[in-house]
C-alpha cells in the first residue's frame, strides 16, 4: 500500500517487453561517450525522454533517463536552479557513466545528487533504488552502484536528482603559474579547482562581494570563461587495473544482476565481466 508507485506508462512497459524477449541489448543515449557504439546486431534501446515532475521548492526533479540534459536545464534555469552534470548527452547517460564534469573536485558530485533510479532488469522486471527525499539510508545503497554502472546492471529509465539554487555570481579564473595551486589553497572552498594541461582553473561562486574578495587574494590569476570540456570526450579505457578481490566482486555483481549477459556486451567484455 505504501510502496513507491511504479507506473511510468506505456513507453516503459514496451521496453520491459522488449528486454524480456531479447538476448542482447545495447543501451544508448546520444552516444556522447563513444563507448556504447553498436558494432553488431544487438538491439539498441534508449530510455524514454521527458520531465516527470519538477518541484523547485523541494530542490528535486524526476525525469525519464533519455531526457537530454540541455532540455532539463531550460526548465531549471527558469526557476533559477541547476543540476551538477555538464550540459551534454542524456541524464541516463551521465548517470550511467558517472559524468561529474569539472565539479569533480567538489563533494557535491553526481553520486551524491542522484536520489532515486528506476531500472529495467534483464528479465524485464522493474526495480527501484533510493527514494524521493534528500536523506535516505533505507537499505543498501543501490543508487551509488547504479551511478557509473555503464548499463551493465539494467536499463535506467527514471532518475530523481537534487537540484540546487543558482549562485548570485559564478566566475572562472585561471593561472598557468607553477605556484597557482598554492595560491588557490588560500581561498575558502572554491566551487571547482582543477588542472587542465598545466593551467589551474578555479570556479568561485556565491555573493558578489565574497567572490571579488576571494579573487583579490589571488596573484597571477586572470578572469576567464569555463574551460572546454573537450578532454572529457576522450576514449575511456574501462579495463584499468584493479585488485583481484575487487574484480571478483564486480564479476559477482554483474552475474547477479545480468546472469545471461544481456546488457552492453561490448562494455562487459572490455572489463572482462562476461560470465
Amino acid at each position: 500500500m505504501f510502496k513507491q508507485a511504479v507506473n511510468f506508462g506505456g513507453a516503459v512497459e514496451d521496453l520491459q517487453t522488449k528486454i524480456a524477449s531479447s538476448d542482447s541489448i545495447n543501451i544508448v543515449g546520444t552516444n556522447s561517450t563513444g563507448v556504447a557504439s553498436n558494432e553488431n546486431e544487438d538491439e539498441e534501446l534508449k530510455a524514454p525522454a521527458g520531465i516527470i515532475s519538477y518541484e523547485p521548492d523541494e530542490l528535486m526533479i524526476s525525469v525519464f533517463a533519455g531526457t537530454e540534459i540541455r532540455e532539463v536545464n531550460v526548465e531549471l534555469q527558469a526557476a533559477q536552479q541547476r543540476i551538477v552534470i555538464p550540459d551534454w548527452g542524456t541524464i541516463g547517460g551521465a548517470v550511467a557513466t558517472r559524468r561529474n564534469g569539472l565539479r569533480e573536485t567538489h563533494h557535491q558530485t553526481l553520486p551524491n545528487n542522484v536520489l532515486r533510479c528506476t531500472v529495467i532488469a534483464a528479465d524485464g522486471s522493474l526495480y527501484q533504488a533510493g527514494g524521493q527525499v534528500v536523506k535516505n539510508v533505507s537499505g543498501f545503497d543501490l543508487v551509488k552502484l547504479l551511478v557509473g554502472s555503464w548499463g551493465l546492471l539494467g536499463l535506467i529509465v527514471e532518475v530523481t536528482m537534487r537540484t540546487e539554487p543558482l549562485p548570485q555570481v559564478s566566475q572562472w579564473v585561471k593561472s598557468a603559474h607553477p605556484q597557482a595551486r598554492e595560491q588557490a589553497s588560500k581561498l575558502y572552498r572554491p566551487a571547482v579547482e582543477t588542472l587542465i594541461e598545466g593551467v589551474t582553473y578555479l570556479l568561485l561562486e556565491g555573493h558578489q562581494n565574497d567572490v571579488e574578495q576571494q579573487i583579490s587574494l589571488l596573484k597571477g590569476f586572470v578572469l576567464c570563461e569555463m574551460p572546454s570540456l573537450g578532454h572529457q570526450y576522450q576514449y575511456q579505457n574501462l579495463n584499468f587495473l584493479s585488485q583481484e578481490p575487487v574484480r571478483s566482486i564486480e564479476r559477482g555483481i554483474r552475474k547477479q544482476f545480468d546472469p545471461t549477459n544481456k546488457f552492453n556486451k561490448k562494455i562487459a567484455a572490455q572489463r572482462n565481466l562476461l560470465t
Partner: protein, 469 residues
Amino acid sequence: MNFRWSVDYCKEMSGAVHINTAELFLAGQDGSNMMGSPLGVCYPTTTAEVQDAVRWARSKGVPFIARGAGTGLAGGAIPEDGSLVICLTKMNKIRSIDANRRTAWVEPGVLNADLSRQTSREGLHFAPDPSSQQSCTIGGNVANNSGGPHCLSEGVTSAHILSLEVVLPSGETCTFDAETSLFDLRGAFIGSEGMFGIATAIEVRLIQNPPHVATMVVGFASVHDGALAVSAIIAHGIIPSALEMMDAPITRAVEEYVHAGFPLDAAATLIVEIDGLEYSVIDGSRQIREIVSLFGATSFQVAETAVERARIWKGRKTAFGAIARIQPNYYLHDTVVPRKKLAEVLSQVTSIATQEQLQVMNVFHAGDGNLHPILMFDKRVAGVMDRVHRAGAEIVRVSLEAGGVLSGEHGIGLEKRDFMRWMFTENDLLFQQKLRSAFDPDGISNPHKVLPRGSGCTDTASIPPGSWI
C-alpha cells in the same frame, strides 16, 4: 547454545577471543533496546588481526559482526546468537593527515569528534556530526552512512569518504576507491551496516572550517508555522549549514538542563546556522530573518560569540539526555518525509501519540525532512511496550504515506527490517539481496539484518543452533 563448544573454539584463538560474561553482555547490546548472545568478542589492533578473526569465524561456520562504539539505534550491531563480535575500538589511530589535499586516513575506531579535534589545528574538520559524535566511531559512521545537523549542506557520510580498506567476508583485503573499480564499490559499501565486510582503514575528506558562522534561534507560536518557515527558507534558495527544529516540550527539557537561552514560550524553536564567507553569511542571515518574520516568528536571537554558539549546539545535541528528567525510558524514531509534508506529518505524529497515551517530543533535522519523534515512557508500566511499538509502526506508516522513507540516518538494522516491505517491492528487495550476495555469498557478515526474511536465498547458511531470530 553449547557453552563447551564456544570455549573450545575460543581456545583455538589463543586467548584473543574473550568469553567472560561481562564482556559478552556488553558486546550483546547497542543503542537499541535489543540484545544478542555472542559466542565471543575479540579486539583486533591491525588489519591482519581482523583478517585472522574473519578467517577463523569462516572456518568454523560462525557468523561475525563488526562493532564500533555500539551507539547505533536500529540494532545493526546486535550480534546474532553464537556469532563472533569483532570490536574495532582498539583500532583507533589517525594514520595520517594530509593538510594540502585535505584528507586523512583513519582507523575505524577513531571517534567522530576526536577526528575534528585532531584536525582543527589545520583549520579542517570532518563534516558528518551525529548527535552521538562524542562517542560514535568513524567505522560506525561508514556502516550506517551517518548524518547529523550539518549534513544539510555538506551531505551525509558517503559524501566524505574517499577510500576504504576492507576485509571482505572471504577474509581477503582490498581497497575501494573512485579510481580502481568500475562499479562504485566504495559507495555501495557505505551504509551496508556491516553486511559487506569490515572497513579497517578509511580515507576521509576534510573540509575547511568556515571563516564566518551565524547561528540563529527562532521561536514560533506553532509547530505548523515553524515547519512552513523551514520549507520557505529552502524554497528561497538558501541552504543553511543546519536547520533544526525542537518542539516546546523538548525545548523546555533542554533549557532546564543546558540553559542555552532557548525561548520557553515558543511552541516550536528553529536553530538555523549559516556559514561561509562574510557577505554570504550576512546576506543569508538577513534573508532568513525576513522569511521567518513572514511566517510569524515570535522571537529571533543570533549567537554573538563562539561560546553562545557552542551552548546552543550542546543544547541540541544533548536533548536526548534531557529526556531522562521526564520519563525513565524513550524510543527515538527516524523517518524522512518531503519537506512540504513536515507540518502535516508532525500533526499526525502528535495524534498517534495521543491515541496510544504516550508523551511525544520532537527534535529533528527539519531542513532535510528528517523526523526524530521521541516517545517517552516508563517500561515498568504493564503493556506500555506494546503501545510504544504500535505508535512507532504508525509513525513509519504515515511517513511512507507522505512519500517519505524508512530511515534518514539510523539505518534499518533489526528495528526496521520487517518494515522494508512497506517501502520496497519484492523485486526491489531482490536486487538489494543480489548486491549483498556479491560481497558476501555465504551470508556470514552480520547476517539477518536490513533485508526481511525471505527476500533472498543467502543468510540461512552457517547459523548455529539456538539462533534467536
